[in-house]
């Protein structure tokens, strides 16, 4: 079964054992593909994971540190086939990741996102409220991950309404107008977690707007909200109380594996779709950890063909809760992300006066 076959199936329909069998074959093929077409990938994996036999489990597959994409541009396609270089938005001072895309991989990303989204949204395009300013996608030559994520999601909506202005302030009349027209039926709300909380929920909290027919999809991490001590549960509760909005799905994903997202189920846990998976590794030994134990998250995906990003060790901590959980409507692994690995400061002789000055 190829990735194209998997994309035609419901995203959470494979029991883990069967899924692993399929992924192993496909990821081994992807590894060979990248080894043949990216000299850098071949070089790194050959030294990091010297082995003679083909990997027999997903955990034995070679993987790269996700930070490598901030340092180097990898490509497994000839220059003339590169369709765009996707760049992570990266907060100020951080080096962005850069990802080479060709048409084939870009198409796979779109199809993958559709496969996952139709599962929660249904096959129809829904009226869509974007918790964003139109500015973020105005310049289409500059592809920030945030813009790309937004464009990707816009495919699942119609009658798009931007809820924020250029200064990220709420455009209340437009939101009211949108709700008056579409609020009686199913509609989609999409935005980045922090903006959804601070630029949307906060200003509308006491207005009594009815969002009970909405489905909110959000992503982008909890770091900023954790600083304000807002937990995922509080986030959900606050929305339900203020607006009646109950269908909320957070997702975990990254620019290095666009399209391959891990969407929250009704239980608040993330689930990998059929064409992706997670492995939790011990941060010291890199050995795979059993469910229940916290470790570093490795993400696997069949989508990256134009760059070797199919197996990446992230810098996030996570835990697998269950495999093929009983009673749920999703098969596979259920997991949570517990945030970034806390930074360690290295010591040493080099002073930082100069670094501060420049």
């Amino acid at each position: 079964m190829t990735v194209e076959d998997l994309l035609r199936q419901p995203p959470y329909s494979l029991p883990q054992a069967e899924k692993e069998r399929i992924l192993l074959g496909e990821l081994n093929r992807l590894h060979d593909h990248h080894r043949r077409h990216s000299a850098e990938y071949a070089r790194v994996t050959e030294i990091l994971f010297p082995r003679t036999a083909a990997p027999a489990t997903l955990a034995e597959l070679p993987y790269l540190p996700v930070g490598l994409f901030k340092e180097r541009l990898f490509s497994s396609v000839p220059k003339e086939k590169v369709f765009k270089v996707l760049q992570s938005s990266g907060t100020t001072g951080q080096t962005p990741s850069r990802i080479t895309l060709d048409h084939e991989t870009a198409l796979l990303q779109t199809q993958a996102l559709a496969c996952i989204m139709t599962h929660v949204l249904g096959p129809e395009r829904l009226p869509m409220l974007l918790i964003e300013s139109p500015d973020v996608i105005r310049d289409r030559t500059q592809f920030s991950a945030r813009g790309a994520g937004l464009l990707g999601m816009m495919n699942f909506g119609r009658q798009h309404c931007y809820a924020l202005d250029s200064d990220l302030r709420l455009r209340l009349p437009e939101v009211r107008d949108f709700l008056a027209r579409f609020g009686k039926g199913k509609f989609l709300i999409f935005g980045f977690t922090y903006l959804v909380w601070s630029a949307f929920l906060e200003p509308i909290q006491s207005l009594g707007l009815d969002l009970s027919n909405g489905i909110l999809i959000h992503s982008g991490g909890w770091k900023k909200l954790q600083e304000q001590a807002v937990s995922a549960d509080q986030f959900r509760a606050a929305f339900r109380e203020a607006t009646g909005l109950g269908r909320i799905h957070n997702f975990y994903g990254m620019v290095e594996q666009v399209g391959s997202i891990f969407l929250e189920g009704d239980d608040g846990n993330f689930y990998p779709p059929t064409f992706a998976d997670v492995i939790i590794r011990d941060p010291q030994t890199f050995e795979e950890l059993p469910p229940g134990q916290t470790g570093v998250v490795e993400v696997l995906s069949l989508l990256p063909r134009s760059y070797p990003g199919h197996a990446l060790l992230t810098e996030d901590l996570g835990v697998v809760h269950a495999i093929d959980p009983l009673g749920g409507n999703r098969l596979g692994k259920s997991f949570s992300i517990l945030g970034r690995i806390p930074r360690a400061e290295l010591r040493g002789c080099s002073d930082v006066i100069a670094a501060q000055v420049n």
């Binding site: 850098e40 070089r43 790194v44 030294i47 990091l48 010297p50 790269l64 540190p65 930070g67 490598l68 340092e71 180097r72 941060p283 010291q284 030994t285 890199f286 570093v296 060790l313 810098e315 901590l317 690995i341 806390p342 930074r343 360690a344 290295l346 010591r347 040493g348 002789c349 080099s350 002073d351 930082v352 006066i353 100069a354 670094a355 501060q356 000055v357 420049n358």
Partner: protein
């Protein structure tokens, strides 16, 4: 502008006021009894203090400046004095220690204060816990010390502002910059008074050389001791101290080198895991920097342990000295020690070694003829600070040498 005066503890002080205080500071005769007394007291406090005892580098500092060592230093200094040449203090020494090697400011201060100088030391506003502990003990000691000791030292703290650095640079007789190339270049833009001198400690690289056959001849406990000493050299400052080894050169036959390496690094790891918590972020940092090294360098083999990684190189040609720290060790093999000579560079500071004779080491220095290496010490002493550092004798560098000429016969008158 305001500058923090950490010692004497007087809070925020106007820069002009502080500059005036410092300019009027005490210059003592070399090895003034009050200063020596204060150093001994600080050493004892470092060795006793329950918080300081948590940090091996503070213990090492306390040990290094204990009474007998200070006595030895005094004898060495006396030996330098001659009938026709006297060492006298420079005057005011302005120290800019590195932020991240906490203990450096005390080493720098100690040699300067013992030789009689008045000192002003700049510390960064961001200070680690061990620096805070050290600073506390330092202040407590000096506060109770004799006037000669306490009236000649200022510890100041400010951020990246140039103004205080300018002010102290304009009045000091000697400026000491401990820091990377970048810091040195930045601070060098700030003028000194014309008569003043400067010592700079730029970015350095350090390596180890081990005779493989000698290593294999060691018994079990000998190997463990060496692993522990290597750990001390490398891990105290996360391999970021300039004298910590980042490259291990195995000398000898291929099978000996392979056997020695296969035994040595697991031992270092085992000891490291026992001694300190392995931080997940460091493991990830190491995995990333190893991957980059594989892309950029002639790496033929990679070994990952929880506390360190080892990357085997096919050769040292064009070996890039930039190194991310965090316990990533390069290794390579040569038949004989002298074969490393062509690969060594000015930036190479400390060679820590095991299994060579003094003659062999001296031959290496002679062959290098000043092109590289300032220190050659046994494994275990990489971080042991001393008066000889980066090619200087600090006991003399902090002094002016006054020449006292004897009467000479009259030259014949030109005809």
């Amino acid at each position: 502008m305001l500058v923090q005066s950490l010692f004497p503890p007087q809070g925020s002080v106007a820069l002009e006021e502080l500059k005036a205080q410092v300019a009027g500071g005490n210059v003592n005769p070399p090895f003034d009894a009050g200063v020596v007394e204060a150093c001994i007291e600080l050493s004892q406090r470092l060795l006793r203090d329950p918080i300081a005892r948590r940090y091996p580098e503070l213990l090492a500092l306390g040990f290094w400046m204990r009474k007998t060592e200070l006595h030895r230093l005094r004898q060495q200094f006396d030996l330098l004095q001659r009938d026709d040449r006297l060492l006298v203090p420079c005057g005011l020494v302005f120290h800019l220690p590195p932020r991240n090697v906490d203990t450096m400011f005390v080493y720098s201060w100690l040699l300067s204060a013992l030789t009689g100088n008045c000192n002003v030391i700049r510390l960064s506003p961001q200070r680690s816990e061990s620096t805070a502990a050290l600073l506390r003990l330092f202040s407590e000691t000096l506060a109770q010390a004799s006037p000669s000791a306490k009236q000649g030292t200022w510890i100041v703290s400010y951020g990246h502002e140039e103004e205080p650095t300018q002010a102290f640079s304009s009045i000091c007789d000697m400026r000491v910059i401990w820091g990377g190339d970048h810091t040195v270049s930045t601070i060098r833009q700030i003028p000194l008074s014309p008569h003043a001198r400067e010592i700079v400690f730029a970015d350095r690289f350090s390596l180890s050389a081990i005779d493989a056959a000698s290593y294999l001849d060691l018994n079990e406990s000998g190997r463990s001791v060496l692993a522990r000493q290597f750990f001390d050299d490398s891990f105290w400052f996360d391999q970021m101290a300039c004298s910590s080894p980042r490259l291990v050169v195995w000398c000898g036959k291929q099978n000996h080198a392979a056997g020695a390496s296969a035994d040595f690094f697991p031992r270092v790891n085992d000891y490291a895991v026992l001694r300190q918590e392995v931080q997940p972020a460091q493991c990830m940092h190491r995995f990333l920097s190893s991957s980059l090294a594989i892309l950029d360098r002639p790496v033929t083999n990679y070994r990952r342990f929880p506390a360190l990684s080892v990357l085997t190189l096919s050769d040292l040609e064009e070996f890039d000295r930039n190194h991310p720290g965090g316990e990533v060790f390069f290794e390579c093999r040569v038949e004989r020690l002298e074969e490393i000579t062509p690969a060594l560079r000015r930036r190479d500071q400390t060679l820590t070694w095991f299994g060579f004779g003094t003659d062999e080491l001296r031959r290496l220095v002679t062959a290098l003829n000043g092109r590289a290496l300032d220190r050659i010490v046994p494994i275990g002493q990489a971080l042991q600070f001393g008066r000889f550092w980066d090619g200087n004798d600090l006991l003399q560098s902090f002094c002016r040498q006054v020449f006292i000429g004897a009467p000479q016969p009259l030259l014949p008158e030109p005809s």
